[in-house]
């Protein structure tokens, strides 16, 4: 069993409920291959940085997965076939983070993460220019 992290972007026309069923189908695919989704995050409708297939917005969903590689391969194959999914990215990780990811936090509590980071807030790479 390996740990994976998958993010996928679904089309903007889908409703929140449709996105949830889509996520459930993907979870089922993993489950049939003895995989397990330990965390599912619906990050809501976000504006894409550039348009993908004429979509300006997309629903972001994050999975934390513990599964054998065959199950993940099958899920990726299904994602490639599914026309509601614009993009997906699966990454192998050492540990799964049970906390809400940065994708969620940017929506809820805007600047709290950066308080008390020891001068990081004032860290502006361009200040002072080239030496």
């Amino acid at each position: 069993m390996t740990f994976y992290e998958t993010v996928f972007v679904a089309r903007q026309e889908l409703s929140a409920a449709q996105v949830e069923t889509l996520a459930a189908t993907m979870t089922d695919i993993l489950a049939t291959g003895q995989g397990e989704v330990t965390k599912t995050e619906f990050c809501g409708l976000r504006t894409l940085a550039y348009s993908i297939k004429k979509n300006r917005k997309g629903h972001y969903v994050l999975f934390n997965i513990q599964a054998p590689s065959a199950a993940v391969k099958e899920m990726e194959r299904q994602m490639r076939l599914n026309e509601d999914i614009l993009r997906f990215l699966t990454i192998k990780v050492d540990t799964l983070d049970p906390e809400p990811s940065a994708l969620m936090q940017t929506k809820q509590n805007r600047d709290r993460r950066y308080e008390g980071l020891g001068g990081h807030e004032e860290y502006r790479p361009y200040e002072g220019g080239r030496e």
Partner: protein, 79 residues
């Protein structure tokens, strides 16, 4: 290289990598706000000689930025 204590025409920042400390900030491709600090207004990555990120962390950072771009969390180009 000795850093002069007196104020020079330009202000000399701290020259340490913000990720390399033991409790440094984790580099995460989903953390767009953090990654944006290391790109220009046009969306290009800022070289590490300006941001003073260590070589090892700069490689991680560039990988994270590229992942964020692929997922349309960050732009490839901004005009």
């Amino acid at each position: 290289m000795t850093v002069p204590v007196t104020r020079k025409p330009f202000f000399r920042r701290r020259k340490t990598c913000p990720f390399s400390e033991p409790d440094g900030i984790p580099i995460d491709y989903k953390d767009v706000k953090l990654l944006q600090r290391f790109t220009t207004e046009r969306g290009k990555m800022i070289p590490s000689r300006i941001t003073s990120v260590s070589q090892k962390k700069q490689r991680e950072l560039s990988q994270a930025i590229k992942r964020a771009r692929f997922l349309a969390l960050m732009p490839y180009v901004l005009d």
